[in-house]
Symmetry: C2
Subunit: 187 residues, 2 copies
Amino acid sequence: MTDITNIDIAKATRLLNHGPTTLITSAYAGKTNIMAAAWVCALDFNPPKVTVVIDSKTYTRELMEAAGTFAINLPCVQQIEMVKQVGSISGRDLAGTDKFAEYGIETFAAKAISAPLVKGCVGWLECKIIPEPHTQNTYDLFIAEVVAAHADERVFSDGRWHFEGHDNLRTIHHIAGGVFYATGQQC
Amino acid sequence: MTDITNIDIAKATRLLNHGPTTLITSAYAGKTNIMAAAWVCALDFNPPKVTVVIDSKTYTRELMEAAGTFAINLPCVQQIEMVKQVGSISGRDLAGTDKFAEYGIETFAAKAISAPLVKGCVGWLECKIIPEPHTQNTYDLFIAEVVAAHADERVFSDGRWHFEGHDNLRTIHHIAGGVFYATGQQC
């Protein structure tokens, strides 16, 4: 945890420029959930905004709409199995528990929102939904402002990623059907 | 060119799942342009839809709004220098020529739209804008339906990427300031 640093909010979207797969966490009224999401994208620089696509049937959607906030966590190579696990089941189907307990996923508190942040990830964006009912209801597309951002300074500092020497901390990119590629060589 | 195959439209968004940096091409009334864009994302499966963020000051914006269509081209490692070039100047500032002529960028005809497709890329999505004036004007965010898609079958077939053995054809991911990472190892 000592490697986590706050990021200049004006550079928060740089966490997402390269299109990594994410984990969306949400919390409302004592309930929490986590899901994998690849369709997450930067939208604006400062104040930073993002778009996320969240299916209307998901438990995450229910919690994030109720709370008005959610977190984007950026998992890395050493978390691949956990990412596959949380992407394969709905938190709604876990009677009396949640995915964090079910899979032993440790979290820490966000600065500005209720959603928990996932330990072991390499980047985190705390997001507040900008209500846009038409795009939400028509396209399952949410627009949000990033109100705080953090990163593992071993692989992100001075506003950019640098994965060299940390292969297990490289971000991941979903292809299809549970197959991922790591972020590769600088070119 | 013999390596290019049409893609089942229901799997077109798989070209974008892993968040590659793109080249947006556009054409209207005899004018054409090309720009680099990292903020491009899948939105829906079938019919496939995408989101793209295009600044209101760009020449691309002018042409794509006039035509109602544009193409998303997916460049690869061996095109890095060209991607940097087209991202560093506006086509509006090139008197009497365009970026294709200026940088010797070869193209081929799209199937369903007017925008040219860039030779040497490894994936192409032909897109028709779904008019959403509020999101376009407020956020520079465009929603579009993918009406045709193609890929280089050496690295994409049966609905998924497979870059092994083709390092020069790996897609690229922009970090910041002209620094890119290639799509890396499967994990």
